[in-house]
C-alpha cells in the first residue's frame, strides 16, 4: 500500500518581516561607512591642528578596511548578514543617482570609447581565459564561467551564465570565489599602480572600469584614486555590464548546440531578461540632468545621495569578503583567474593609454 509522506512547507515570510530582517545589517553598513568618513575627517583635523604631515587616507579605504577586519576576525553574525548583503542594492541605487553628474553628451562620448575598448577586452579575455583554463585542465563549464566573470562583470555575469548553460553550483561557486578574491586584490593594487604610472583621473577610471571585475570593486578602486576617477570607472563598468546579455546568449547557444544546455526559444526576451536595468536608470537620470530638469542645488543633492549609497557599498565590500571562505575554494581556478586577470589588466592598460589620446 502506498503511503504518502507530508513534506512540511515553509510558510511564506511576509514582506514586513523580510524588511525587518535587513535592518540590523543596514545599520551595520551605515555605522562602518560613517566611521570610515569620521576617521578621514578626524585624522585630517588632528594633523592640521598639530601641524603634522600625514597622508590622507580616504573614507573609502577606511570603510573597506574596517569591514575587512570585522569580517575576518569576529565575523559577521547571522543577525546582520541579510542587511549586509544589500550592499549591491546601494551600489546600483548609487550608480543610477550618479547619472545626475553626467551630461548625456559625455556619456555618449566616453561610453562610445568604452564600448570599443570593452569589445576588444571581451574578445581578448574570453579567448585567453578559455585557452588558459584548458591548459590547466579545468572543466569546460567552469572555464566558461571564469571567462564570463573576468571579461564582463564578475558575480552577476557568472550567475546569469550558470542558469543559461546549466552549470553545476559547485563550478559557479568556484568561479565566484576566484573573481571575489581577485577583486579584493585589484581593489588595493590598482590605485598603487595608477599612482606609480602617474595616470590621469580619466585614464585610470577607464582602466579600473575595464579591468576590475565586480562593479562594487571597480567603483571602490576608482573612488580610492579620486572622485573623478570613480565617475569614469562607473561609466566604463556600466558599459561593460550592458554587454552581459549578448555574451551570456553566445555561451547559451554554444552549450545548447553541444546539447548540454536547453534551447533558447526567444532571443530578444532572453536579452531583455539578462540586461541590467540599472543601466537604463542611469541613462534616464543623465537625460533628465541634461535637459535641466534639476537645478544646481538639486544636482548637488542627487550627487550627495549617490555618495551616501556608495559609502554603504564600500562598507559592504569589506564586510562580505571572508578570506578563509575564499581560500577553501581550491587553488587551480584561483590560479587561472589570477594569471588571466594580470594579462587582462596589462592589455587593458595598453588599450587605455592608446584611448587616452582620443578622450584627452
Amino acid at each position: 500500500m502506498a503511503t504518502s509522506i507530508a513534506i512540511p512547507q515553509a510558510a511564506p515570510v511576509p514582506w514586513f518581516r523580510r524588511a525587518l530582517r535587513v535592518i540590523p545589517g543596514i545599520l551595520l553598513l551605515v555605522s562602518v561607512g560613517y566611521l570610515g568618513k569620521f576617521l578621514e575627517q578626524f585624522i585630517a583635523r588632528y594633523a592640521k591642528a598639530h601641524h603634522l604631515t600625514i597622508p590622507n587616507i580616504e573614507y573609502v579605504l577606511w570603510a573597506i578596511l574596517i569591514g575587512l577586519v570585522l569580517a575576518n576576525t569576529i565575523g559577521v553574525p547571522e543577525l546582520f548578514r541579510a542587511g549586509v548583503n544589500t550592499y549591491d542594492f546601494w551600489l546600483k541605487t548609487g550608480i543610477v543617482l550618479l547619472g545626475a553628474r553626467f551630461l548625456l553628451g559625455d556619456v555618449l562620448k566616453l561610453g562610445a570609447v568604452s564600448l570599443v575598448l570593452v569589445a576588444i577586452e571581451l574578445a581578448l579575455s574570453i579567448t585567453f581565459m578559455t585557452w588558459l583554463g584548458r591548459r590547466f585542465k579545468l572543466s569546460e563549464k567552469l572555464i566558461s564561467l571564469l571567462a564570463v566573470g573576468s571579461s564582463i562583470c564578475g558575480v552577476s555575469a557568472i550567475i546569469a551564465t550558470q542558469g543559461a548553460i546549466e552549470a553545476d553550483d559547485e563550478d559557479a561557486s568556484l568561479a565566484i570565489a576566484a573573481i571575489l578574491a581577485l577583486g579584493a586584490i585589484a581593489l588595493f593594487s590598482f590605485p598603487v599602480i595608477g599612482h606609480s604610472l602617474g595616470m590621469g583621473d580619466q585614464s585610470y577610471g577607464l582602466w579600473a572600469g575595464l579591468a576590475v571585475d565586480n562593479t562594487a570593486e571597480a567603483t571602490a578602486a576608482g573612488a580610492l584614486y579620486s572622485d573623478a576617477a570613480a565617475k569614469t570607472a562607473v561609466l566604463a563598468k556600466t558599459t561593460r555590464n550592458a554587454t552581459i546579455g549578448f555574451v551570456v546568449l553566445g555561451y547559451a547557444l554554444y552549450w545548447a548546440r553541444r546539447r548540454q544546455a536547453g534551447e533558447i526559444k526567444n532571443k530578444a526576451r532572453f536579452l531583455w531578461q539578462k540586461f541590467p536595468k540599472f543601466v537604463l536608470g542611469f541613462l534616464l537620470i543623465s537625460v533628465l540632468a541634461t535637459v535641466k530638469v534639476f537645478d544646481k542645488t538639486q544636482l548637488g543633492n542627487l550627487a550627495n545621495l549617490s555618495r551616501w549609497a556608495f559609502l554603504l557599498t564600500f562598507a559592504g565590500v569589506g564586510l562580505r569578503t571572508n578570506f578563509a571562505q575564499l581560500r577553501k575554494q581550491g587553488v587551480r581556478p584561483l590560479l587561472v583567474g589570477a594569471v588571466g586577470e594580470v594579462v587582462i589588466a596589462a592589455v587593458t592598460l595598453g588599450l587605455v593609454v592608446g584611448a587616452s589620446r582620443v578622450i584627452g
Binding site: N85, K92, L97, I159, I176, F278, G281
Partner: protein
C-alpha cells in the same frame, strides 16, 4: 559553501529593478523639494 556564494549572488541579481525604483523616488523627492539639503 557553494550554496552560500550562489544564494548571495542570486540575491544581488534581484536588486536591479528595486534600485532603479528607489533612485527614481529619491530623484522625485529632490525635484519636488521634499529633500532640500543632503549634506556630505
Amino acid at each position: 559553501m557553494a550554496n552560500n556564494f550562489i544564494s548571495r549572488a542570486r540575491l544581488k541579481a534581484s536588486f536591479d529593478t528595486l534600485a532603479v525604483f528607489t533612485a527614481l523616488v529619491l530623484a522625485t523627492l529632490v525635484k519636488i523639494g521634499a529633500l532640500k539639503r543632503i549634506p556630505w
